[in-house]
């Protein structure tokens, strides 16, 4: 190990230090002191981590700590995405957590420490490191889901999330163990070199299946999605904004690594599996969302559907699929965090107004929030000139490029179906509200500086990714190329050749 290795995990170090600092400060502050300032510390630390990730682009791509973590444009892409999401969620939480809540310090610390796990998850190239990173991020999210423990729903959500989440990690771990059994290593590049020659083909297949299933649990793809609506409904909205995007982005990065980097030779096995899961996720998600009356449950099903659209990108061959999937995670994060920011502001911290009927006439009560809600909904529908459109566009064009035309067609028809429930909510917000007592009492949500910044970020990101996506797409593509995927999976010789190159000498790196 050399000191330069530290630079390769610089964002994680910055985040860890911030988290520890917040925990210590929280413990040493007097019990009744306001802890809102800790949120700003967390935001500052996350911004620094974001800068540190961008700075890592100037490092030559390579590995560190005995080939357990790496930095490459791929990891930087996801680091920046995760740090961006966490930053926006922190800003959102600053204004939406009740001032009297005395656990705020813990909350901010957990968000930041969870981000450490997510970042490490994308940069780890050793399955055990990845497993630990996944646990770090998951445990932080389990606790955060329970943050509003005075309401009954929040602990229920947390326990469901915890039980099914640990079940999923069990799958993943079992898969890792089998892969280890087949090859004697858990280092990703070693694995991808050894697996094609592994004797026990059944064991390799089982390893792949178990790992993929474990990951699909985490990204809430159908049929492993049953926990999602309950958890999203019960957890506080800012936490949902976080856990529906950041851990998902990290886990999708892991899925990309697993299928494209470890098991590219098994494409004929995992591609049909992901095809089915993609179709099932979008259909189940959209059909179930049509019937929801609770906005957060509806968005939970919508996130299942979006996981399906994202999985469609995996039908794309090589870098085009990876780039499309990476871009989709970013586009989805921008609009989903945005819409949950609006939902947080409208519904309030304790979700008093979370039914669709409560949104009636929102645009007249709070024109800004109502307008933004419609904007994010159009993006989720996938209307051009918003992030959602290009996300879908790239995902499905990757699928068409990979000759999965039916998948693209089913996906786009599904997005037509999805328009029905997104627009139902959008139209409710523009309907004139009846001037009854109950409506008169509803206070107009006030938008503070931090939330305004959060909304500005998400709107900006949604528009930029929808109108001038070139730069983000280039970043995703550069990242995809560093994942070193064989263009043609029928040719294992190429894979061995590719992985035997020293990591530092790869081309396609800035």
């Amino acid at each position: 190990m050399n000191p330069g290795d530290m630079l390769r995990i610089l964002p994680e170090i910055v985040l860890t230090l911030t988290g520890v600092l917040i925990m210590l400060a929280d413990a040493s502050l007097p019990a009744n002191a306001p802890r809102r300032a800790l949120g700003w510390v967390a935001a500052l630390g996350t911004t620094l981590a974001l800068w540190a990730s961008l700075w890592q682009l100037s490092l030559p791509a390579g590995t560190a700590f005995y080939s357990t973590v790496e930095t490459s444009p791929f990891t930087v892409f996801f680091h920046v995405l995760i740090c961006g999401i966490v930053l926006v969620v922190l800003l959102l939480s600053l204004d939406s957590l009740p001032a009297e809540s005395h656990n705020q310090g813990e909350y901010y610390a957990l968000v930041v420490l969870g981000a450490v796990g997510m970042c490490l998850l994308t940069s780890g190239i050793e399955l055990l490191v990845i497993f630990i990173a996944l646990e770090i991020s998951s445990i932080a999210t389990y606790v955060l889901a329970c943050y509003r423990k005075e309401s009954g729903r929040s602990p229920e959500a947390a326990i469901k999330y915890f039980l099914l989440g640990s079940f999923a990690t069990g799958f993943l771990l079992y898969g890792i163990a089998l892969a280890f059994g087949a090859t004697g290593t858990t280092q990703i590049y070693e694995l991808s070199r050894l697996l094609p020659t592994a004797q026990n083909h059944t064991m390799v297949l089982a390893a792949m299946a178990l790992m993929v299933v474990g990951i699909l649990f985490k990204v809430s793809a159908a049929p492993f999605h049953v926990w999602t609506p309950d958890v999203y409904e019960g957890a506080p909205s800012p936490v949902v904004a976080l856990m529906s995007t950041a851990p998902k982005a990290a886990t999708f990065a892991l899925l990309l690594r697993v299928v494209y980097e470890i098991f590219p030779t098994l494409r004929s096995s995992w591609a049909p599996l992901l095809w089915c899961v993609a179709v099932l996720s979008m259909t189940v998600g959209n059909v179930a969302a049509l019937r929801q009356q609770n906005v957060k449950r509806m968005l939970a099903y919508s996130s299942i559907a979006h996981a399906g659209y994202l999985l469609a990108a995996f039908a794309g061959l090589g870098p085009s699929g990876i780039a499309a999937a990476s871009f989709y995670t970013a586009a989805y994060a921008a609009m989903n965090v945005g819409i949950f920011a609006v939902v947080t502001m409208v519904g309030g911290y304790d979700d008093q107004r979370s039914m669709i009927a409560d949104y009636r006439g929102l645009i007249y009560r709070a024109p800004l929030l109502g307008g933004l809600l419609i904007f994010f909904l159009t993006s989720l529908v996938g209307i051009p000139f918003t992030a959602g459109f290009f996300g879908k566009f790239y995902a499905f064009s990757a699928a068409v490029g990979g000759n999965a035309i039916w998948l693209a067609l089913i996906g786009l028809l599904n997005s037509g179906l999805a328009a029905a429930y997104y627009l139902r909510l959008a139209f409710v917000t523009v309907q004139p509200a009846p001037d009854t007592e109950s409506f008169a009492k509803v206070a107009t949500p006030t938008v503070g500086v931090a939330v305004a910044a959060a909304l500005l970020f998400t709107v900006g990101a949604t528009l930029v990714l929808g109108i001038i996506p070139t730069q983000a797409l280039q970043a995703a593509e550069t990242g995809a190329h560093t994942l070193q995927v064989p263009a043609n999976d029928e040719n294992p010789a190429y894979i061995t050749e590719g992985t035997q190159q020293p990591r530092g000498n790869r081309d396609g790196i800035e």
């Binding site: 000139f385 499905f396 064009s397 070139t470």
Partner: protein, 509 residues
């Protein structure tokens, strides 16, 4: 001037957006948004008039072209341009916009800011559809045009706006899913979204024929719903009876018919020819069906919706007759439909605003009370049913005669019957609204005749109907200067009636 010629289309696209942004920034005070909207649309109209003024008749292909790389991979260009097909449609869109604003002047009482801002965004999207020469850009505008429309229908619907808006949105959004897949397939196989390149590549026959056939069907399906072609017209009546007048004028027809001509017949001439007999049959059925249903409607918005189905089917017939004369007639008829329908919507909107109902039975004998409205309504109706000297005649004549000589006499006769039915329901509507004994509503309700602003809009429209009827030669030469499908020009020798006519059309140019 060259610089202006290159950037004029971009300016036309951005002008309504700038107006929308201005409305969004300024406070919602009184009629301020309406004034800004009117000003913006008048400026846009002025800008669109630059196009026919500087359109070079002797020059083939697209003019005022601009092409800039927008996104590198996949290569999407900001590529806009006009030819004889889109030129007057752009002007028509520009013309209908201020009319829409005037129609909303008194009808929209509240939340003017949202209304006019979204109306202008809708304007940009519509102009974008006519101007785009890159398939992705085109698709972008095509989809974008749905959103403001749906939101405005939901907000300002007469009774149950959200339901009609949802119906409208889903009906048009879901068919665009196969359209996008088809566009992506084309890109995956050709590597370009550029209209002209695709036209050449498809004509050269390098693409597999089987999938290409499905691609052509996907294109057609999306456009046919938007037109709408029978039996895909389920959304039309609800949308017409719910949508604010300004939007109902633009919702049907133009976009879908233009797209059929440009992107279905234009890109896939071979596949279009294979499907043409079916479409001719559907068009004639739609023509008769729409006319019959229009005869029995009790609500004049619904009557207008089925009348529109009938008229749009006639235009579809002109397009899929696949004759040059038919296409001239179809394009001319799209313009007529825009002008006549705009005027009818305005007049019926005025009636509904004055009397508060759209039930035909409540009216009767209005001519004595509102003579100017009656006069204008009668002229517009006559234009709609195709009286010689008025614009409807030119388009209908071109379409029907080309169908008779170039396609099939039986269908032509059936279509003519439909046109006669059209005269029947329109004249009967005029009779029920304006003549006969005065209804209690007409007698009791004191209602003023047309106001100055309304007259200022309607008389020019009527003059335009007359002008287009008397002197079609002003418009037709430009319309004929369009980029047709390449294969039709090359295959003149085939012994098909449509093609021999195509050849003669070619010769005349």
């Amino acid at each position: 001037m060259t610089y202006l010629n290159e950037s004029i289309l971009t300016v036309i696209l951005l002008a309504p957006l700038a107006g929308a942004a201005l409305i969004a920034i300024l406070p919602d005070r009184g009629k301020l948004p309406a004034w800004i909207g009117l000003l913006t649309t008048l400026v846009t109209l002025g800008l669109t008039l630059h196009l026919p003024a500087h359109f070079v008749l002797s020059q083939h292909g697209f003019q005022f072209e601009t092409s800039r790389l927008w996104i590198e991979n996949p290569a999407i260009y900001y590529h806009v341009g006009v030819d004889g097909l889109s030129l007057w449609l752009v002007v028509l869109a520009g013309l209908l916009a201020p009319i829409g604003i005037v129609a909303s002047w008194n009808a929209i009482h509240q939340r003017r800011k949202i209304f006019y801002a979204l109306f202008l965004v809708q304007q940009t999207a519509m102009l974008g559809v006519f101007l785009s020469l890159d398939l992705m850009l085109y698709y972008g505008f095509w989809e974008l045009s749905l959103v403001p429309m749906a939101i405005l229908i939901a907000m300002y619907g007469r009774k149950d706006g959200s339901k009609a808006a949802l119906k409208f949105f889903l009906f048009t959004f879901i068919p665009s899913a196969p359209l996008l897949v088809a566009i992506l397939w084309l890109y995956a196989n050709t590597g370009t979204f550029n209209f002209a390149d695709l036209q050449i590549l498809i004509a050269s026959g390098g693409l597999p024929a089987g999938p290409l056939c499905w691609v052509a069907i996907a294109f057609l399906f999306a456009f046919a719903v938007k037109v709408p072609v029978f039996p895909l017209h389920g959304w039309l009546a609800d949308t017409f009876s719910e949508a604010p007048v300004a939007l109902a004028m633009v919702v049907a027809g133009k976009l879908g018919l233009y797209s059929m001509l440009r992107f279905h017949v234009g890109l896939f001439p071979v596949q279009a020819r294979a499907l043409a007999p079916w479409l001719v049959a559907l068009a004639v059925i739609g023509l008769l069906y729409g006319a019959c249903l229009a005869l029995v409607q009790r609500d004049f918005w619904r009557l207008l919706a089925f009348a529109a189905l009938s008229h749009l089917s006639l235009i579809t017939l002109g397009i899929y007759g696949l004759t040059f004369t038919g296409w001239d007639g179809a394009i001319y008829q799209i313009l007529n439909h825009g002008v006549v329908d705009g005027s009818l919507f305005l007049l019926l909107g005025i009636l509904e605003a004055r009397y508060g109902t759209s039930q035909i039975a409540c009216y009767g004998g209005l001519a004595a009370k509102v003579p100017q409205t009656a006069t204008l309504f009668v002229i517009t109706s006559l234009a709609m049913i195709g009286l010689p000297m008025l614009n409807g005649f030119v388009g209908e004549f071109l379409i029907l005669s080309s169908t008779f000589t170039g396609v099939n006499r039986g269908w032509a006769v059936a279509a003519t019957v439909g046109v006669i039915l059209g005269a029947a329901y329109m004249l009967w509507l005029v009779q029920r609204l304006f003549y006969g004994p005065q209804s209690p509503l007409a007698a009791d309700k004191p209602a003023s005749d047309l106001r100055l602003g309304e007259l200022l809009i309607l008389w020019p429209l009527v003059a335009l109907m007359l002008g287009m009827g008397v002197a079609p030669s002003i418009w037709l030469p430009t319309i004929e200067n369009r980029t047709g499908p390449p294969t039709l020009k090359g295959s003149i020798t085939l012994p098909q009636p449509s093609l021999s006519l195509a050849a003669s059309g070619e010769g005349q140019q």
